[in-house]
Amino acid sequence: MDRAWIDGQPATSDEALDAAAKLLADAVQPFVGGLRTDVAGLRAAFALAKDLGAIVDHADSATIEPFLSALRDGGAFLAAPAEMRRRADRVLVLGDEPATIGADLLTSLSTSEPDLGVRTRGSGRQIMVLGTVAGPVEGHDGVTRIDCASDDLVDVVGMVRARLAGRPIGEGPLGGTTIATIAEFVAAAGFGCIVFSPAEVGALGSEQVFGLAADLNAETRCSTLPLLGSDNAMGAALLSTWTAGFPLRLSFGRREAEHDAALYASDRQLSGAGEADCAVIVDALADGAAAAAPAVALPAIVLAADPAAAKAAQIGFAVASAGRDHDSILYDSRFGSFVGQTAQESSELPTAAAILTALAERLGGRVADAA
């Protein structure tokens, strides 16, 4: 079985590593991206990126950027899903994306009841969906849906906050009576929980949602569950933060890490519109491709679990799939942290971390130190 390719032709790993090292050594501004891998792969990718002075981003960081942006601009109230399953007596679901990216969570919430807390236990759980679909909670006891377009969510949440603060509100997209109904629903919670997708409501909408939670906590308890679309991107952002101080979209081009959410985004760099002139792309997960893989206009070194993707690159390596072919540490939003995942299958393919480390060694860096 072929494991490495140069310009689509089978090559030995050594030949491909030599070619990749030359490509990177000749590059003015490398980019290290994709980052769809486990913690070991991420560490190796960051070590390589530091050595190269590369720009770094994850393929799916667009799904987490609005959340991170809102958090650092205004702070947040954040809950663990498992705690909300036991504690929340009223759940407000905002928008349509939770029905898809949060289907398991919504199912779990609609098929369980709060069993903790004098204020919440025994009263059952009510779920109010503001969206055009209720998704997996459709028809469950205690579920109501108010028709609301995604584009209206930010206004609606703002009006709910105004109503709770006793300020006059107009009719808005849903009408004043409906806003009052929503406000009463969340204010009457013993422990309320707001489920939303930051990518759907944007950074501004996310800030509004965190603001609503903050307002409610003046009198009662409330927290939020932002659904991030890509657990893998969130894991990469967390590792990036403790490693470099910033959550992705950063550059080591001037040695110290610099962060710019627009300048160092994957799409901009890989399309050729950015500063990068050569890319290392890691795509080593079993669960399909990145949400929206951009066209790559740069010479690229691809480490992929899908051999076809590796073969199609200028230089490609077939690598084992993290979490499936080898034991891995991956972020899991159900837990809200990193978990160990035991391999389901065995594979003779190298890990992404092994290839990245070998590449860095060929470039003479200090990657071995960082392992």
């Binding site: 913690v39 560490r43 991170l68 702070g75 705690e83 906590n217 110290e256 962060h259 978990v339 130190d369």
Partner: protein, 546 residues
């Protein structure tokens, strides 16, 4: 290879040595001088220098979910570090795992304890610690607001069963000890309780903070865990109520060991027109007369910082003082927590008095083996302020200069100016080396006797104590020179010190069912797998007492 550190002034209270002595190091440990006349392969000239064991920090928030959230919340401070070193308030924080390890090492610290690891965040914390170079690390795992413990107490389960649960938590999370943070307070806050005293009960459980602390104290003792239960008391920071809470907790030790964290934040009274006063003298007296208790200070220093705590109730209350005005509050299983940025200002009456109260406690607690050197990093101040604190403790004239820069109203509210004590080098070595090692039960460090790990800090003595302790002349970690003249010359990786109590099989099966049934989580997710950390041999197991 045999190394000799020659001619240095060895200050090693654990072995009662204080004089010019040659030290020998081989295979990463300190050895007796060769009896066969063998000469050293390498000699490090320490003539005129002060030689101590590597320092140990028993309470510093350096890793884990909440620490990383603080980094996420405050990217502007990291940028400040990159482009304008020395000019901004947080330019010396040690913001990344990399900087944390290197900056601790430069000051001669070689072991640091992350004191607030949630069981659900254990793997995350250990991943960060594994990326922190040079220093050895350890963690305290947090219990005391978790449904299972509170339910077990409510239901009258046996002390053995509770100890089994604690043992499982310590073993799974790879901790060195157990901490409880505002015992019952976070659980009560989830019930919308906004103030929680030592004898208040958590709604729905009917269990008081006192019961939780006493239950955990007994479990820790019965398991032979060397480090006493590490307690963050109720009512942190509340004038009057804070000092009542810590006094009640201290009396509840009842002759058994108990460690009380960052007690400066509990030294607050309600006297004076601002209803904020020092109870430092009373609190120090209580510590002096309660020999079973150890404390650390949590010294406040002036400047921008960020508070990181699993005391969700008090962090929520602290949101009102957030500077800049943004914060993150977590409602997780068990403790939750909060990240609240804070700017301690020299010209603020409250902040300046906080600083003075910490100093009073350091200086009025008589036994340097029972008071530990912390800022509760970064809650009172970043750990990079340590050199200044050493100078303040060792030099009365430095204290005087600081006092004179404070608001006059503060000088009238503190007895600090009258305190003449200056810490000696021997007392500093007791407080930061010998005593912490005894407290943690890590007999292999904190001293320079044969058999100790060769973690050694060598300082250039001088009138400027901040300069002396800010940049070590040499630091050896496991026998290798890692710092020379304050600069890191070799980047090594230390290990995490852990206990490894054998969990009871029946308790393990029970927890598998509990986490699955109640939370829909796998109990396995709470474990830190052996191969997770990416280093060979990432742990060093410390034995429990028989």
């Amino acid at each position: 290879m045999l190394k000799r550190l020659s001619g240095g002034h060895v200050v090693d209270p654990a072995t009662e040595r204080d004089g010019v002595i040659d030290l020998y190091v081989e295979d990463g440990v300190i050895v007796d001088p060769p009896s066969d006349g063998r000469s050293a392969d390498e000699t490090i000239d320490c003539t005129g220098l002060v030689v101590m064991a590597g320092a140990i920090d028993i309470h510093s928030h350096i890793a884990g979910g909440h620490v990383n959230t603080a980094r996420l919340l405050l990217p502007e401070w990291h940028r400040a570090f990159s482009s304008r070193p020395g000019e901004t308030a947080l330019s010396r924080v040690g913001w990344t795992t990399e900087e944390t390890g290197l900056r601790y090492a430069q000051m001669g610290f070689t072991t640091v304890v992350e004191p607030a690891m949630a069981p659900s965040s254990a793997l995350h914390a250990h991943l960060e610690l594994a990326d922190t170079p040079i220093i050895d690390k350890a963690t305290l795992v947090v219990l005391g607001n978790d449904d299972l413990l509170l339910s077990m107490i409510r239901d009258g389960e046996s002390e053995n069963a509770i100890a089994d649960y604690v043992a499982w938590t310590v073993a799974s999370s790879r901790a060195l000890g157990v901490k409880c943070i505002n015992a019952g307070g976070s659980a009560a806050f989830k019930e919308n309780v906004r103030k929680f005293e030592f004898d208040d009960v958590v709604p729905d459980y009917g269990v008081s903070s006192r019961q939780i602390v006493k239950t955990l104290q007994r479990a820790v003792t019965s398991l032979g865990i060397a480090h006493p239960l590490h307690v963050h008391c109720n009512n942190l920071g509340v004038p009057g109520a804070s000092s009542d809470a810590i006094a009640a907790t201290m009396r509840a030790a009842e002759g058994d060991p108990l460690h009380l964290a960052h007690i400066q934040f509990y030294g607050y009274g309600t006297e004076g027109k601002r209803r904020f006063s020092s109870r430092g003298r009373d609190l120090a007296a209580l510590v002096n007369t309660t020999p079973e208790v150890t404390v650390d200070i949590g010294q406040v220093m002036f400047g921008q910082t960020v508070t990181i705590s699993s005391d969700e109730l008090r962090q929520f209350a602290g949101r009102a003082q957030a500077s800049p005005r943004k914060s993150v509050i977590f409602d997780h299983e068990a403790n939750g927590g909060g990240v609240v940025p804070f700017d301690y200002r020299r010209k603020s009456f409250h902040n300046a008095l906080q600083w003075a109260i910490g100093m009073e406690l350091f200086l009025l607690i008589e036994d340097p083996a029972r008071v530990f050197f912390t800022t509760d990093h970064p809650n009172g101040a970043p750990f990079t302020t340590y050199p200044d604190i050493f100078a303040l403790l060792m030099d009365r004239s430095v204290r005087q200069a600081w006092l004179e820069a404070l608001p006059k109203a503060v000088r009238e509210m503190t007895s600090l100016a009258e305190i003449e004590r200056e810490y000696t080098l021997n007392e500093i070595a007791t407080m930061t080396r010998a005593a912490p090692a005894r407290l943690l039960g890590t007999a292999d460090r904190g001293h320079l006797g044969a058999g100790a790990v060769a973690d050694i800090a060598v300082y250039r003595p001088g009138a400027d104590k901040a300069a002396m302790f800010g940049t070590a002349a040499f630091v050896l970690k496991d026998g290798e020179v890692v710092v020379r003249n304050g600069a890191v010359v070799k980047r090594t990786f230390g290990r995490a010190l852990t206990l490894r109590p054998e969990p009871d099989k029946a308790m393990k099966a029970r927890l598998d069912r509990y986490f699955d049934d109640k939370y829909g989580l796998s109990a396995r997710w709470f474990e830190v797998p052996d191969g997770a950390l990416g280093h060979n041999d990432p742990f060093k197991v410390v034995p429990c007492r028989a």
